[in-house]
Symmetry: D5
């Protein structure tokens, strides 16, 4: 069993069992953002977390070590995503990419926002004109230094 097969198994079990990611996150005791990414094969679980996930999705025993192994990351089948929801995020990078760059450099100087020392939160923002998706991202600024 490789990680891609395991992810497909989890997704199928989730659909078949009508399990929500929020419930999985509650039982694992971490954010729904991180737990979902982990179940989708992008993060590494520890033994306790893996055991809970195996129980929730009724996974076979050999899933345990696989969930605890660092996966080959990257969740999309094409460089430019075709799914409309995911494409909108790609579009934000395409349209606002140079804006991100200018404003972060203006505030912090040369460097990047870490995508590793990073956390995010995704929630519903009620709005009379139609509810909104609110995403808060927080990544450590890492400066380039001369040497």
């Amino acid at each position: 069993m490789n990680r891609a097969e395991l992810t497909e198994m989890i997704v199928a079990a989730k659909i078949a069992g009508g399990i929500s990611w929020a419930d999985v996150a509650d039982r694992v005791g971490l954010s729904k953002e991180w737990v979902t990414a982990a179940c989708l094969g992008q993060m590494t679980l520890n033994a306790d977390q893996a055991a809970i996930v195996c129980e929730i999705f009724d996974l076979p025993d050999d899933a345990m070590p696989v969930l605890q192994t660092v996966p080959y990351k990257g969740s999309l089948p094409t460089a430019v995503p075709t799914d409309p929801l995911i494409y909108r995020f790609y579009e934000l990078v395409s349209v606002y990419g140079t804006t991100f760059k200018e404003l972060i450099h203006e505030e912090f100087g040369d460097g990047i926002m870490s995508a590793i020392d990073f956390r995010m939160n995704l929630e519903r923002e009620p709005d009379p004109a139609g509810d909104r998706v609110k995403i808060t991202m927080s990544g450590k600024f890492l400066p380039y230094k001369s040497y």
Copy 2:
């Protein structure tokens, strides 16, 4: 003069004059995120905004109508960005893309987060372990409906 030439002119004037995007935003009276994107050729200014921008960057007269024309958007030279700062955002889409998808669908059902009816805020988050970049995004949820 086309928009790409105008953007390059603005960037050169900004560098030469030591102008900050925050100052430009203050004088235009809007967020630094939107104003920077507009100056970088991704948004459309109205006449008043264009006049202020022309004055700040000392742009020639024929820049006025160009700034008020809807640009061909997309700020990056390659589909996968090479610049490390911008790449990190692409990496977030690559790693967390399916997570965004799962969690938004779980909360809202089938649909997308709009990248048009969208606003964002980028700020410094002080942290003793090293300051962080905090980005808050808000996009209207747009549901797919059957018909």
Copy 3:
């Protein structure tokens, strides 16, 4: 069973059973455009719709939750489609893309035509010189706003 396998199962059952999309749409009670897209793995059915589709195509029980799950959208195997019928639509985007852009901006200002709050109708237009395909698309205009 994942969605791609389910779609292939539906297509095979449709061919084997000589079922028409118009009939499926009639029984589901929605437009043939939306119903076909849903059966081809691009839209999400509700429980009642899924039950009808399962019955029509004699699908196994575990197809029910899969049909009600939001799919990873994008129906084509390559970025530039090779199928001549589908390519003609890509060609329209290639040739008329900037025309769409100019005319929509002239009429509405900066923004887009939604591909989500969208419906369409495809019908035969009789013509003595050879019948024509008539497609009527209607998408909500979504304006970019400054903030």
Copy 4:
């Protein structure tokens, strides 16, 4: 002067002069859809049409034969368009491509909708929930025949 330079000249003159495509179309006496495409370097004008366009945009004399020459068509700089408005049309092809294919074949048999013997109309559709873009396309059906 090649066609790309001429198109850029027209676009610049249009912006500088505040000319609308609807006005150009009125003076040429054809639809705004075809006239805009022609001015953007995708269609071929005859001598009378070229003369009107040259006058409207105050083009030099050597623009006359260029406007009457069949252009190398394709209006977009990349295979997958980056501009959000144009991308939405690409997304429709990506998501609905197989639906177009199924429904046209169901109605007409094997063949295509011509993108050459084709006309379209783009108009505002008032709607209390927000006005809509309405596009009506009509292309001759061309059947594949065995031989």
Copy 5:
């Protein structure tokens, strides 16, 4: 069974049985060009033709409706073909593409040669310096018209 699997089945049966395309075409009663394309998954057979093809290649019953269904066309695994014989045709398009364009426009004006209302003939042309492949193509000219 999908069309790709069916095509592979036909090719295997043809090789195993030492069947020639010319024989298949004779029995179907159409040109070898069209019949070969149909057997390779590019054209749609009617019921009679499908029955003959099934008999020749000893195909299972469920091949019948598949052969009568319009296939997703495009016979090559890569955009630029790697097979030397097929590449030479791609090379002709690459080298002579603009020549085709100039000469057809010179003779017919703006428009295209139809690849749908199209037929071709491929034959041996005896030549003392080495026999030649002679291909005669005939496609209806389809003019662009203003509207």
Copy 6:
């Protein structure tokens, strides 16, 4: 002056002077297919041919040796052509590529149709249902031999 600049010069002169490729071919004394390809930078002229071409298009003296130099061939800006007329030829390769391969191998064995020892003829084929483009290609068959 490089060959690309020279080609653009010839095309501009042709448009400005209303010169036809057929006329150029007549004066050069060869087929319009070869002469057009040569003028478009795909073939090599000898001194006499180059002199005639220079005179027809009123080219500067330093065009003479450039026209007699073997060009870097390939006339299209993208691997998959965007121009509808040229795309149709690419589509023929995509749809009929494996058919070409099967039939040529059936007739000749393993080998290719030469794209070098090759000639073609493009003419109008009158037809009451609409005139047709008729293209006759003849390429020497080159067999693979074991060694």
Copy 7:
């Protein structure tokens, strides 16, 4: 069984049996270059050669006709090869490509070196500073001719 499966079967049998290409070539009675290419699915064997190959690698009966069928050529999984040994040959084309072109045209005029009427020999060249790989290629020059 298709050709790719057959090639994989041959490679596995070769590894398992410790068979050398030189031995295969000896028994087939042709050069090791051609025989290896043929076994790897790039050339077509005749009945006698196929029988020998089947015996050497202990292939099933249905391999016989497959080996005698012209394969879809192209032995590499990506357009730019990732394997270091094969990449070096690609690099030679990349670095020396224009040199090949200049020198062949200088010696022969416009035309190509045939990759069909082609043979090559690969041998060890002893050298005190480290043995060398010596490759001798010979391809017929094919001139472009005007017509």
Copy 8:
């Protein structure tokens, strides 16, 4: 002046002056293969060689240091070359790539043929059936070693 401009200058001077690569090589005193590559911007000349090349092509003084600077190598505008002569070499890599790999490994073990410690010779091979291009390549074998 950068190296690409210098190469274009050399090529133009060569064409205008009717200079042959063989003559340049004679005067530089090295092989025509290396000298041509160097003049085309792929190799680095020493001061004496650069002086001779400057004299032959009548290059400006600032060409001297540029010719002595290591260039950014790679002589082709696209990853898959469009020029037929150069493509044939790419085709040899595509068709024979795995053959090169198998035979070199069989003779030498794991490693590569160097494309750096490499020399080649390109000559005319007279043949009554049509002269041939003979290319002899010699590259040092470099073994992979465990460590």
Copy 9:
């Protein structure tokens, strides 16, 4: 069994058995860098090494000759890697590529650092501000020589 299947088998056995690469390297008696690369299908083992690897991972008998066969190298599924850890190395090549080039040429002249006669060492570098990854690479300089 092909090499890719064998690699997947090794990786699964390693995860299931909780085996570390350092242990494998110890038992093979070589560096962990080379041994890991070999187990991941990038290097060729000799008989003794293969026997040890087979024992450690409890591989079937037919794995022995496969491990001793030179693999088709290249360990990544896409040209630009999506995995964040591996991407950082690609980014170093992208950002520092021209710097590597300038400094190596300044020190050594025209040539390359061998990726074949190459060894490397990867270790933990303790640092109070957070431990660091230290990689030492050593590759033989191979000069281009004129000939």
Copy 10:
């Protein structure tokens, strides 16, 4: 003046003046690795460093603010580099990418080696069998943490 033009100006001045990167680094007072990258448009200089660089390369006044502005990074014209020296580094990523991944994860757990908090040193390693290029890289390990 944009950064690309400035980089080309620096490179030209360096070649013309026979300046070495080691000298530039000495005068700037930092490592040759960082200084070269900065001069090639990949790093940001402070005012003092910029002044020194301007003096060394005799740059115009408006180069000063450009050198102090964060550049759009990425030094290579293509995703897969064509230059042999730079390609070898890409090849190391391709061949050893999964090895880097396995060994770093084994030593440190899930996370990456920073390409930002990174320094490197490139030096000559004398060796009787031919001198070697020795590169020492040191990047901070950044762990993924659950949240």
